[in-house]
Every structure is written in C-alpha cells, then in structure tokens.
C-alpha cells in the first residue's frame, strides 16, 4: 500500500496538449475516482501512473519514490484495462497466475494466491476455461482477478464496468467497494459514470479537457460544486440552469419569470446563471407557475418536465403526483438549495 502524489503532471502528443498540469494527492488506502466526459484524459492519466505513457512534465510519486522513469514492472501497480486485455492463449488460471510466474513465485504460493482471488470473485468453476469461452461479465471478473492475485501498492481501474449490463454493474460496484474495505489498498478508478463515482469513491476528481475542475468528497461535490460544469456533471438528472439577471426583488429571466434570489446586497443588473437540482423542486400551493410538458413515472419517483417561461426544466418528485401534460402547477424551492454561477466564467457565486 502506498500514497500516490501527482504533481503538476502534463502530457502532450507532439503539439497537442492533452493534460495541462494535474495535481492530485491520494492518501494511502484512499479510493479515488477520476470522472469526466469522453476524451478528457482520464485513461491517459491512469496510464501515466502505470508507466505506459511517458510524462511530459511534472512528477508522479508512489509512496515516497518518484516513478517518472521507472518501468511499469517496477512500479508495483496492478491495472484493469478498459478492454480487459485477457491473454487469449492462456486459461483463466494461467491468466491469473501470469504475474506470479514472472515473479518466480513457487507453484504452491501461486496456486494459493489464484485460488484466493478466484474464491473472492466466484471464478472457481471457470479456472480451466479459455477467455473466448467466457461471457463479458466473466471476462471482466477475470481481469479483476488478475489484479487481485497480486498484493500491489495501488490498483488502477479503467472503466472496468462499462461493458456490463445494469444489474451486473450494480453488483460488481458493491463487490469492488467491499473489496476495498477488506484490502484497504489505494485505488484509482476511472469512470465516466457519475453514479459509479458517487457511490464508490472516498474522493472524486472531476476532469474536463485535461484540467481538474474540482476535487472533493462525493457529497461535497454534489452540495457545493465549484462551477457550472461540475454542477451539471454530478447528479442525475442533471441540475437545471436558468439564465437571467438579478433585479430589484430577486432573479428575473428575459421572459419575465421571477425567482427568489439568495444573494445579499445590491446586485441589480448583474447577469447570473441560476441553478436548481430537479430533486429540490417541490409542488407548492403558491410558487412559480409552470406548465407540465412530460410526466415520467418511474415507480419510486416521478420525473416531470415543466416549462417555466420559455425554458424546460426537469423536476423529480418522491411522491406519486396526479398531474398530466398541459396542467399548470406551482413549483416551490428552498433558497438554500439554489446555486448561482457566473455566466462568463462558470464559477460558483458564493452566497
């Protein structure tokens, strides 16, 4: 086990800058997820930690050793690839034993380690199969098992669940989390699924275009997003954003809708992006009038798309609601759940 320090790390391919100075300090035993849209550089950063990509600037430390120039095999990390990368000419057992064999472990030691990992992941009946005889979910487990056989300083996961169906994904998510609790090994986990990030991580790193947008604990990111990008990325369905100006008595959109503004002092005329999460809107007797466009009952909750002024916003109600498209409803909101952003920079406005 070890901490990982990423210190001003940059990456460029020729003239193309992919990562522009990434700083993350990962504590020993911490579970950190990297999230962000496709192409933002998550895999690249992970591969740099593993030693599969050169480092164009900055330093990466594992434990107290700078690993910039260390070969992948000397970094003592285990990685699960986005594509699984199972060795097709080896059985499941041989796949899992490969790293032990390279370390000249004894046959007994190897067998014990493989059996232990196989037991944890329920792979025992599959040990003599070839990868091509496995389903997608089973291959994913083997890829995980190959990492578990070793006792590395850091586990690196690159979207290991992206190819599984929804049910299996939920199950594996729980298994990985339980595994982390048991082993306590440092984990860096890449995903573009914010639910995975929220549910599994101790801390989340939100990235966009090769930059870090915010680092924090899942609920901190949810409650206090540093900017509009993080606010829209974390939480599902996504936060509603309404453009407008601060007026004499509250927030006002160009179409004349008025919303309460939790901002002290005189801000008249200031352009503001008004953010409110769907789950923070409720049905009220007196509130903002909205016309219902779409009702999507999901059993446990109901999602409603409603039009305020000329803008569609989504609302999420825990209770069953008796409304239909075309109805007019009144929406209430709690002031302390409103988030304000600067339309120019996208940064959150403190209030």
């Amino acid at each position: 086990m070890a901490s990982v320090a990423i210190d001003g790390v940059k990456k460029s391919y020729g003239a193309a800058n992919i990562l522009h100075g990434i700083d993350i300090d990962i504590a020993d035993g911490e579970f950190v997820t990297l999230v962000g849209p496709s192409g933002c550089g998550k895999s690249t950063l992970l591969r740099m930690i593993a030693g599969l990509e050169g480092i164009s600037g900055g330093a990466i430390r594992i434990g107290d050793r700078v690993v910039n120039d260390l070969a992948p095999k000397d970094r003592d990390v285990a990685m699960v690839f986005q594509s699984y990368a199972l060795y097709p000419h080896m059985t499941v057992y041989e796949n899992m034993a490969f790293s032990m064999k390279l370390r000249n472990a004894s046959a007994a030691e190897t067998k014990e380690a493989v059996d232990r990992a196989a037991r944890i992941l329920g792979l025992e009946p599959l040990l003599q199969r070839q990868p091509k005889q496995l389903s997608g979910g089973q291959r994913q487990r083997v890829a995980m098992g190959r990492a578990l056989v070793r006792n590395p300083k850091v586990f690196l996961f690159d979207e290991p669940l992206s190819n599984l169906d929804a049910k299996l994904r939920v199950q594996m998510r729980a298994e990985i989390k339980a595994l982390h609790l048991r082993l306590g090994t440092t984990i860096v986990y890449v995903t573009h699924d914010q639910v995975e990030a929220m549910t599994m991580a101790d801390r989340i790193v939100v990235m966009q275009d090769g930059r870090i947008e915010q680092v924090g604990r899942p609920l901190d990111l949810y409650d206090n997003p540093a900017n509009r990008f993080v606010a829209s990325f974390i939480g599902s369905p996504s936060m509603n954003f309404i453009e407008g100006k601060a007026g004499a008595d509250g927030f006002e959109t160009p179409t004349g809708v008025r919303l309460p503004l939790p901002l002290a002092g005189d801000n008249s005329g200031r352009s503001i992006t008004y953010g409110i999460r769907p789950e923070h809107l409720r049905l009220d007797n007196v509130g903002i009038p909205a016309r219902v466009v779409l009702v999507e009952p999901m059993g446990s909750e109901t999602q409603v798309i409603a039009r305020i002024g000329e803008q569609d916003i989504s609302c999420l109600f825990r209770e069953r609601v008796a409304i239909a498209p075309g109805d007019t409803i009144q929406l209430g909101l709690a002031l302390d759940q409103v988030r304000l952003f600067d339309p120019e920079s996208g940064k959150a406005i403190k209030h």
Binding site: A50, K73, A78, S83, A85, Y87, H89, P131, R139
Partner: protein
Amino acid sequence: MKSSLWTKAALTILTAVAGTLTVFPVLWMIMVSLKTQNTALRFPPDYLFIPVFDAYSAVLAKTGFITGLMNSLIISIITLVLCLGFGLLAAYSISRFKFRGAQAVLFGMLMTRIFPPVALITPYFLNVQWLGMQDTMPPLIVAYMALNLPLAVWMLKGYFDAIPEELEQCAMVDGATRWQAVTKVTLPLMGPGLAATSVFVFVGSWNEFLFALTLTSRQSRTLPTVVAEFVGDTGIEWPQIMAASTIALAPVLIATFILQRHIAGGMTAGAVKG
C-alpha cells in the same frame, strides 16, 4: 433463398475450376515422374498404369542432385532464420514505436521490390567476383535475404498490428519486461502470421533461379538450377525431370500442409471485449 442457392452453386463451380487449374499440373508432374520415358510420351496418355520408380532412383544417383538438394535446404533455412530474426525486430519497432520516418522506412522497403532482380544481377555478380566468392553460399544467402526481407517485414508488421498493444502493456504492468511481454504474449499469438511469413520467405529462396544460376557453378548449385540442367543436348528425360521437380516441391508442400492449420488463425478470439 433461391438466389443464395445460385450463389452457392456458382461459387462451388468457380472453386472447382480454380482448384483443378492449380492442382492439375502438379498431378501431371507426379504422374509423369512415375512412368518411363516410353510410356510418358504415349498419346493419348495412360491415366491408369503401374507406377515405376526408375526415374527417382536415376535422379538420386545423378551427380550433383543430392548436393543441390542439401545446398537448397541450407541456404533456404539460413535465409529464413535471418529474415525472421531481422524481420521481427524491424516489424515490431515499426508497428509499436511511433518514430519519425517509420512510414518512410516501410515504403522504402516496398520500393526495393519494384526493381526487377535482373537489373541487379550484373553489378552484384561483379561484386561477388571481386570478393572472390563465386560458387559459395553466403552471396546467395545475402541476395535472398535482400529480396525477401521487405516482404517479411510488411507481413509481420501487419500481424503485429493485429495484436492489441494493450495485451503487451498488461503483461508489462503484470511484471514483464518488454522482451518477456513480446515473447510470452505477442509471439505465441502470432503463430499464424509467423507460419505464413515463413512459408513465403522459404519458398522465395527455395524456388529462386536467376541468382543461383549466375552466382554458382558446381559446389553451391541449388536445386532449381540442378533440375534445369536435366535439359541436355541429348533430349529431355521427362520422367526424370518430373521426378526431380516432385522432390523439389515436396518440402514446400509438406511445410504448407503442416502449417496451414495454424495459418487458419482465429487465435486472438476473446482477448478484448466486444
């Protein structure tokens, strides 16, 4: 359904025609090699006859034939080993390391195949003569390597490209050096590619005639030139020339039959998802 039946029939007929055209000369050659000069020239030919092996024993007894066979084997095998060795190194680096000029190297190699070998034979002969190395094997091996290496590099690069780089990277994270990753993961998966490349390179030097004819005279004669000498002033001994050709063809046929199972491929199934 009807159209697919027609397609099937048409394809079957085409395959049969192509197969016959390819196999007929070989069968004819074997047939004639088992006759005597007398029965071989009969018209119409006998398709059913009692085979005799006189031609084979005559050929094997001929001075220079066994030497030629051994020379051909030695030269082709050394060429094959060298071509695979250098070819694998070159192909691997072109496929995996994105260095400047990789494409230029690849195209440069292709260009060398545009030259007709005839254009090179005279200057090459003069050089060999100047070195005093006529009628020895090394000049032939060097020439065959030069002729076959570009093909080997092109083929092997294609096969390397087809093996996901992530497999190697995964092995390296698992604790392998690059050398171990290649020898334990990539090369075992390239079996079909290695087999196909080997057959091409081997046949390339095994069948070569022009350089062998020009650069050798007695000691280092290879099989194709020895067979050609069967055409003498006193007429052509057809069964003998066919027997010699059959013997010359045998190693290639055997190698291809053994390796075709591997060439069939399908070995990377299950490596990556999707």
